[in-house]
Symmetry: C5
Subunit: 104 residues, 5 copies
């Protein structure tokens, strides 16, 4: 899996029927320090993530192993919202309320 | 999934029987600002996309999860035509009639 | 799928039994202008391609969706010989008899 | 598979139900000399690896071929702790007690 | 598939049970001229390859299509030892006894 930050959303009205009703998230890849990289992906949301959330996303056939994505033409899924991570015992990222614009 | 723009089409008369009757699209990968990158792919069309359309494409085994591509030797499929996307609440791309040469 | 040109062949007498009788093609990846890139792959031939042919190749599990490659330890297959492609209405590649040394 | 060193752990309380109870490891990719590269991955632990351990990790659908990860939306798994490797008859890495902070 | 040269071996005593009894090879990726590149992979041996051998390796789910690797958490397999390859009718690599330290 890779680290990402949800930076936006995408609308596509004409699409394969397997994608109807899904939410498309624009995800910017993060490095281990929490900084944004140039990498990105469009992923289907399986966990209720919103803009600003730091997330984990899975690619390939593994992206189809959620209820939202099973048997869909989807090769990337957001399947976890990250609370925190640490490296060498030092916290590098911890979620704050401000990280999620859509949090309520 | 990744963002792309359909830039052309390809003809191959001698091919695996699983590919007969399929449309091959040349797709240039886009970045999150909508600009073309150097990346490209040849994808099978599952949604009626045409030259100029901004699309989503899926790769790998997920590319075989549409009616057009199931069980085919196909590792990339165009399965959605993008209407718009936004980042941080700002629209970065919105489809206009001029985006699709084949639109009618 | 990606564009490639068959540039050579490979012989391996000691191999997994699933690969016996297959033809291994050396394929140089092409860009959308038809120029060779530094990328390459060794692919199994499913379509009778020969040296000089411009081809499409598929990777991953999709490479196993031909009669020649089903259930084989093969992650790349040449499954189409390209006749032509065009971008923006302009032909960028069209096959000529000289493209294939093995054509008869 | 690729070589990596476990450099940290990640917590995600809101996640796909298939991921409940799993340990997420931050893994920095290593080169053949044992040096850290810029590549990294978040992998599920299937073997009891801890911070400092040099490990093997597998990606893609192969990452789901362990008891911990079967049918999970997981595309990377740590499935072996490396004792040593050698190149040209010369040992390039050998595990020492100090390599694993969590070893007991 | 990609070209590689077996440059070493790896030992991991603590591992997923699906990997018990397998041989882990360190493989350096080769270019079409036979030169080593910076790319590498750790692959399971399915064909009796040894240090110095020039080999073909397959990745992803295709790496699980040999008797040695079926249903294992393994995403790379060495499944052929290369005898020779040619490009444009010119031999670029031909195996000699000195290529394999373990040949007998």
């Amino acid at each position: 899996m890779l680290l990402g930050r949800v930076v936006g959303t995408l609308v596509a009205s004409r699409k394969d029927e397997g994608l109807v009703g899904q939410t498309f998230l624009l995800v910017r890849q993060l490095d281990l320090a929490g900084g944004e990289t140039s990498g990105h992906v469009v992923a289907i949301d399986s966990v209720g993530a919103g803009e600003g959330d730091v997330v984990l996303w899975a690619a390939g056939s593994s992206a189809r192993q959620t209820e939202a994505t099973r048997d869909r033409p989807c090769d990337a899924v957001v399947m976890a919202i990250v609370d925190s991570w640490e490296i060498g015992g030092e916290v590098r990222y911890r979620k704050t309320p401000a990280d999620s614009e859509w949090a309520s």
